[in-house]
């Protein structure tokens, strides 16, 4: 192995050990375990739900006008909606939608933002400033607002909502990757690599980019919860999922007309959102506290 490969390899080993440390801290904390459990349960629901749901056809939209707006019972665990469809089944189907859409938003935003930030941080000066200026302008928008504008322009659909959210979310990851890249760029082994004559492009890919992965990964986990709420919010406004999709946000939206008299309609989908987001937040919180070196020193008061 070349010298700088060796150095890079030991950097990666160090990161591997840090990762193990984080995993250990997560597993020993009851709150984060609960979060992890929740996420796993919902993942299972996302995969298995549609096969287990008592009224799958209704979940996909088939109405049943004989059983409109019934309260929760043995037949309909969470009650029925105004078209007589079983809310429980619809929620089971909706898990897949929520997870897939939020994961897509975060994943694509990361895929766009991370390399951009790494490049901006490494190349600095003109290219870096340009990228960061553009990023700052996007960041000047309150998060959902830009997504709202884009979704309204493109028209209401789940795909457009996801696209709109990606457009407004990538800058966050760019900024994160940028600051990490700046720090990494100044580390001695990067200087050494450059001195040996390694081409910039390779340095970015081999050294800068991996360094940005860790903080972004943490942030992304935390963001999944927000992404779910963001997608639900857009659906709630009518800019996301359209009927008859069993999207949780859409259900709460349709539910708001009925729910004062029929409490179960909006409560359960919203509860599903709450629990899933709670899971991500619990886990993310624990990870964040595990990583933050400043929180582990002495305590006096």
């Amino acid at each position: 192995m070349t010298e700088q490969e060796t150095v890079g390899k030991s950097q990666n080993e160090k990161r591997y050990r840090e990762l193990q440390n984080i995993l250990r801290l997560i597993v020993t904390n009851p709150l984060s375990l609960a979060g992890l459990a929740i996420i796993i349960i919902f993942l299972i629901i996302a995969f298995v739900g549609p096969y287990v749901a008592p009224y799958p056809l209704q979940a996909e939209g088939a109405p049943d006008l004989m059983h409109q707006l019934l309260p929760p019972s043995g037949h309909f665990l969470f009650g029925t909606d105004e078209l007589g469809r079983d809310i429980f089944s619809r929620i089971l189907f909706g898990a897949r939608i929520s997870l897939v859409t939020s994961a897509s938003v975060v994943a694509v935003a990361v895929l766009i933002g991370m390399p951009l930030g790494a490049i901006a941080g490494y190349y600095g000066e003109r290219l870096g400033s340009l990228i960061m200026r553009i990023t700052d302008m996007f960041l000047a928008f309150p998060p959902l607002l830009l997504a709202l504008a884009v979704a309204a322009t493109l028209g209401g659909s789940m795909m457009n909502a996801v696209l709109a959210l990606i457009v407004s979310w990538w800058p966050w990851y760019t900024r994160l990757a940028y600051s990490q890249a700046l720090t990494t760029r100044n580390l001695p082994y990067v200087d050494a690599a450059r001195a040996i004559g390694v081409r910039d492009r390779i340095i970015v890919v081999r050294h800068i980019l991996p360094a940005t992965v860790a903080p972004i990964l943490v942030q992304a986990t935390l963001d999944l919860g927000s992404a779910i709420i963001a997608v639900a919010s857009l659906s709630f406004l009518g800019l996301g999922a359209q009927p008859p999709t069993p999207d949780w946000g859409l259900m709460v939206n349709t539910g708001k007309t009925y729910f004062l008299q029929h409490w179960w309609y909006a409560t359960f989908p919203g509860l599903a959102i709450l629990i899933l987001v709670l899971g991500f937040n619990l886990l993310g919180d624990a990870v964040r506290e595990a990583i933050d070196p400043k929180l582990s020193r002495r305590r006096l008061i």
Binding site: R298, R299, L300
Partner: protein, 324 residues
């Protein structure tokens, strides 16, 4: 104040650190005691234990710290809090980080004064504050009061800290490496100041340092510490003239003095032991050229081998120390 048999453990992720292993010494009224040792030997831990400022993962296993008739380790935390700043004060190592950066000097000083002089009104407190700052030879105390810590130089910051610490005329001041973070020239100035204040206020001082030159300048007596216990206590004169403990002798030989001119500097072989897995008995024995089998058994106690000269060693070397 006297410290007896202080045993302190720290609970860390890597295991229990047996930091203090039966520390004992005393400070008499009006004297300056130097606590000397390498980084990590437990000097700071000892000093923090006095005012109960040890971090949460510290466990005081046993020992007594007697001050003005009370055992500070068993008193309620409230009583100890009353003593802090009032009867016993502490000065720390890095002045820049020891002052709260978002408050003006005046605010911090007056808040402390308010606690210790509850009966004064605000105008009087202002005057007293200025007096205290003037006492530590700060130029223009009034404008210093309206400055923020980062607007002062390191030396001035430490003077401010001294002023605050001495503002209620405590009887004991613990100074933990007060000049280590500062330039050598500033060190000299602050030393002189400390000497003057000690005379003027009749302070007893526990001076923690690893700088032997400082010790020589300022201290009346010296206690040498190694890996969690005191190994030798003597007057400054005797410590430098006639060090008895092998560690002290090694320490002195690794410092450049006139006596050693022309010879190679000695260094103590080996490294300071890990305090998670300390060696049995006398903790210095793995590196000691005079070690005998007893040294690996019970830890040696401090014994008055010569008048007012205590050593904790089973096998005190006979030859003069500069012959090593």
């Amino acid at each position: 104040m006297s410290v007896e048999d202080l045993v302190v453990h720290f609970h860390t992720i890597d295991g229990i650190v047996y930091a203090l292993n039966g520390v004992g010494f005393n400070i008499r009224k009006g004297e300056v005691l130097g606590l000397v040792g390498e980084t990590g030997c437990g000097k700071t831990a000892t000093s923090l234990a006095v005012l109960r400022l040890l971090p949460e993962n510290a466990e005081v296993v046993s020992g007594h710290i007697t001050f003005e008739g009370r055992d500070l380790l068993t008193e309620s935390l409230d009583k100890v809090a009353e003593i802090r700043g009032r009867r016993i004060s502490m000065i720390f190592q890095d002045p820049a980080s020891s002052l709260n950066p978002v408050f003006k000097i005046g605010t911090q000083l007056i808040d402390v004064l308010k606690i210790h002089h509850p009966n004064e009104n605000n105008e009087d407190l202002l005057k007293i504050a200025e007096e205290k700052l003037a006492m530590t030879e700060l130029p223009d105390p009034r404008s210093v009061m309206s400055l923020y810590p980062h607007e002062l130089s390191g030396g001035m910051q430490q003077r401010v800290i001294m002023a605050v610490a001495l503002s209620s005329s405590p009887s004991l001041v613990i100074a933990d490496e007060p000049t280590t973070a500062l330039d050598v020239t500033i060190q000299a100035q602050l030393l002189a100041l400390l000497k003057k204040l000690k005379e003027a206020l009749g302070l007893s001082v526990l001076l923690i340092t690893h700088n032997l030159g400082l010790v020589r300048e300022l201290c009346d007596r010296v206690a040498i510490m190694y890996a969690g216990s005191i190994v030798e206590v003597a007057s400054v004169h005797n410590i430098f003239q006639n060090p008895l403990h092998p560690y002290t002798r090694g320490l002195l030989s690794s410092v450049v003095t006139g006596r050693l001119r022309g010879r190679t500097l000695h260094h103590i072989p080996g490294m300071v032991p890990s305090l998670i897995n300390p060696p049995p008995g006398c903790r210095f024995n793995p590196r000691c050229q005079y070690a005998i089998s007893t040294c690996r058994g019970e830890r040696p106690e401090l014994v008055e081998t010569e008048p007012s000269h205590l050593v904790a060693c089973y096998n005190i070397p006979k030859e003069p120390w500069w012959r090593i």
